[in-house]
C-alpha cells in the first residue's frame, strides 16, 4: 500500500511520543484497541486546571503506519484546545488530513476513541477531586 506523505512523515518523525504519570490528577489516559486486533493506542492529555486547556499530549501506539500517524496527529491537534473543543475532533478530519485510504479509516476511528477515552478519564478524575477543578 502506498502511504501519503503525511502518514510517512508522522511515522518517521512521530510527534509527542511518551508517557505521562497516569496517577497525576491533571492527566487523562485513554487506551483503546486490543493486541489481537493488531492495534492498541494509548493517548494521554495533561490539562491546565485553571484554563481547562490541554497543555500537553503524549501517545504510544502499537499498530500499522496509519495508526501511528493518526495518534501522532491527534496529539498535535489536542495541544492548545480546551477539553470541550477536543471532544469535537472527528475521525473524518483525521482521514482527510492524512489522506487515509478506506481500509485504514479504522485507524482514525481508533484515534477518535482514544481522545474521547482520555478526556473521559480526565473528567472522571476531576469530579472525584473537585478541589482541582
Amino acid at each position: 500500500m502506498a502511504y501519503s506523505e503525511k502518514v510517512v512523515d508522522h511515522y518517521t518523525n512521530p510527534r509527542n511520543v511518551g508517557s505521562m504519570d497516569k496517577n497525576d490528577p491533571h492527566v487523562g489516559t485513554g487506551m483503546v484497541g486490543a493486541p489481537e486486533c493488531g492495534d492498541v493506542m494509548k493517548l494521554q492529555i495533561k490539562v491546565d486546571p485553571i484554563s481547562g486547556i490541554i497543555e500537553d499530549a503524549k501517545f504510544k501506539t502499537f499498530g500499522c503506519g496509519s495508526a501511528i500517524a493518526s495518534s501522532s496527529l491527534a496529539t498535535e491537534w489536542l495541544k492548545g484546545k480546551t477539553v470541550d473543543q477536543a471532544m469535537e475532533i472527528k475521525n473524518t478530519e483525521i482521514v482527510n488530513e492524512l489522506a487515509l485510504p478506506p481500509v485504514k479509516v479504522h485507524c482514525s476511528v481508533l484515534a477518535e476513541d482514544a481522545i474521547k477515552a482520555a478526556i473521559t478519564d480526565y473528567k472522571k478524575k476531576a469530579v472525584s477531586t473537585p478541589a482541582l477543578v
Binding site: V8, C37, G38, K60, T61, F62, G63, C64
Partner: protein, 404 residues
C-alpha cells in the same frame, strides 16, 4: 550493494538471465506453434518443448511424458484436484487436505464441496507438520485424493511427504502435492516420495511467470485426470491450449539450473538464513520462530517480533522487500491463517515477518537487513504501549482490552 533488497523469494523469484537468454530465440526466430506438425517452424518449437519436459522431469525424478504444461501452479492445483474429483467420482467423493494449504488448493476444495464432495481439512501441529496418524484415520473407503503441500509458502515447513505418500499408497488413495516452494530448492523425487500428482510453477525457481506444470504419474498407478478445458486436446488431452513455447523453454532452463546449483545453493542459503536468525535473536528479546526449524526450507525464516506490528515494521524497512503475516497488509484484516493454524495467537500473528532468501542475495544484503530490522524493531518498541506494559511486568493476557 544496491537498494532495495529483495528477500521475498517465496512470492516470486527474479528470472535468471540465463533463462531469459534461452527464451529469447523462441519469441522471434523459432516462433512456431509446437502443435504444427507439417513444417520446420513447428518442429523446432516442439523440440524446445521436449527438451524442457526432460529438464523438468529430471529435476523431480519423473519421466518426461509425465509432465503436463499449464499456466501456473493455480491452474495445476485446480486441474489436479478437480480433474481427479471428476474422473474418480464413481469411486468416491472424499478429499483430504490441510488447513494451511495455498488458497489455490483450499478454494478449489471449497468449490468441490458445493458440488457434493466431502473435504477433510487436517489441522496442524505446533511444529507446522500434519499428524500422520490423523491423516491415516481420516482416510475412508470414499477417499479418492489426499492433497498436502510439500513445503509451506509462509513458514517453509517441509511435510513428511515420503510417509504421506506411503500411507496413500497403502490405502490406495491418490496423493497430490503442491510442490512449488520445494521443487528446485530441495531434492524432490516423485518415485522416492510416492507422489502421484505434483503442481509446479516456473516463477518460483528463477523462471518466467505464467507457466506451470503438473506431474501426472503414468504407471503404478496410472493416474487419470478429467480435462478442465475443452479444445485441441493438447498435453495428452489433459490441458488444451497452444503451448507457451518461450515460457516453457525458460521453465526447462530454470529447472536445469536449479538441478545443477542445488548442492551449492542449499548450504549457502541455510548459512545466510541461520546468520540472520542468530543476529536478530542475539540483539532482540521477545522474538519467536514460527514453525519448526528442523523440517524447513533452507532459505526460509518466519519470525514474530512481539509488541511491534508487522505492517509498521515493513514501513520502517521500506528498502527491503519482505512480507508480513499481519492483517494490515491485506484487504481482509485477518492475520495469516497459516500462523493461526500453528496455534499462534492473533497478537503474535500480527507481528510476523517472512524472509525468503534467493539465488541473487548476498551476505552483505543479509547483514544490512539484520541491522535495519534491529533498528526499526527497537524504535517501534519505544513507541509501543504493549512493550511499555511488558517492561513494567504487566501480564497482557490479563488486561481488559476494549476490542473494537
Amino acid at each position: 550493494m544496491k537498494l532495495p533488497i529483495y528477500l521475498d523469494n517465496h512470492a516470486t523469484t527474479q528470472c535468471d538471465p540465463r533463462v531469459v537468454e534461452a527464451m529469447l530465440p523462441f519469441f522471434t526466430e523459432y516462433f512456431g506453434n509446437a502443435a504444427s506438425r507439417n513444417h520446420s517452424f513447428g518442429w523446432v518449437a516442439e523440440e524446445g518443448v521436449d527438451l524442457a519436459r526432460e529438464q523438468i522431469a529430471k529435476l523431480i525424478g519423473a519421466n518426461s511424458k509425465e509432465i503436463i504444461f499449464t499456466s501456473g501452479a493455480t491452474e495445476s492445483n485446480n486441474l489436479a484436484i478437480k480433474g481427479v474429483a471428476e474422473m474418480y467420482a464413481e469411486r468416491g467423493n472424499h478429499i483430504i487436505t490441510a488447513a494451511t494449504e495455498h488458497k489455490a488448493v483450499l478454494d478449489t476444495c471449497k468449490h468441490l464441496e458445493k458440488q457434493g464432495c466431502r473435504v477433510t481439512y487436517l489441522p496442524l501441529q505446533g511444529s507446522g507438520l500434519i499428524d500422520l496418524d490423523m491423516l491415516r484415520d481420516a482416510i475412508t473407503d470414499k477417499t479418492i485424493l489426499v492433497s498436502i503441500m510439500y513445503a509451506n509458502n509462509e513458514i517453509g515447513v517441509i511435510q513428511n511427504v515420503t510417509e504421506i505418500g506411503k500411507i496413500c499408497k497403502e490405502k490406495n488413495v491418490l496423493f497430490h502435492t503442491d510442490g512449488v516452494q520445494a521443487a528446485g530448492k530441495i531434492p524432490v523425487n516423485v518415485i522416492k516420495d510416492n507422489i502421484d500428482i505434483m503442481s509446479l510453477t516456473a516463477h518460483k525457481m528463477y523462471g518466467p511467470k505464467g507457466v506451470g506444470a503438473l506431474y501426472v504419474r503414468r504407471r503404478n498407478p496410472r493416474v487419470q485426470i478429467s480435462a478442465q478445458m475443452d479444445g485441441g486436446g493438447h498435453e495428452r488431452g489433459m490441458r488444451s491450449g497452444t503451448l507457451n513455447v518461450p515460457g516453457i523453454v525458460g521453465f526447462g532452463k530454470a529447472a536445469e539450473l536449479c538441478h545443477q546449483l542445488m548442492d551449492t545453493e542449499m548450504p549457502k542459503h541455510r548459512a545466510m538464513r541461520d546468520r540472520l536468525k542468530a543476529t536478530l535473536e542475539g540483539a532482540l528479546e521477545e522474538t519467536y520462530i514460527n514453525g519448526t526449524m528442523e523440517h524447513r526450507l533452507p532459505h526460509n525464516l518466519n519470525m514474530s517480533f512481539a509488541y511491534v506490528e508487522g505492517e509498521s515494521l515493513l514501513m520502517g524497512i521500506n528498502d527491503v522487500a519482505v512480507s508480513s503475516g499481519s492483517a494490515c497488509t491485506s484487504a481482509t484484516l485477518e492475520p495469516s491463517y497459516v500462523l493461526k493454524a500453528l496455534g499462534l495467537g492473533d497478537d503474535l500473528a500480527h507481528t510476523s515477518i517472512r524472509f525468503g532468501i534467493g539465488r541473487f542475495n548476498t551476505d552483505e544484503e543479509i547483514d544490512y537487513v539484520a541491522k535495519k530490522m534491529i533498528e526499526v524493531v527497537t524504535k517501534l518498541r519505544e513507541l509501543s504501549p504493549l512493550w511499555e506494559m511488558f517492561k513494567e511486568g504487566i501480564d497482557l493476557s490479563k488486561v481488559e482490552w476494549t476490542a473494537h
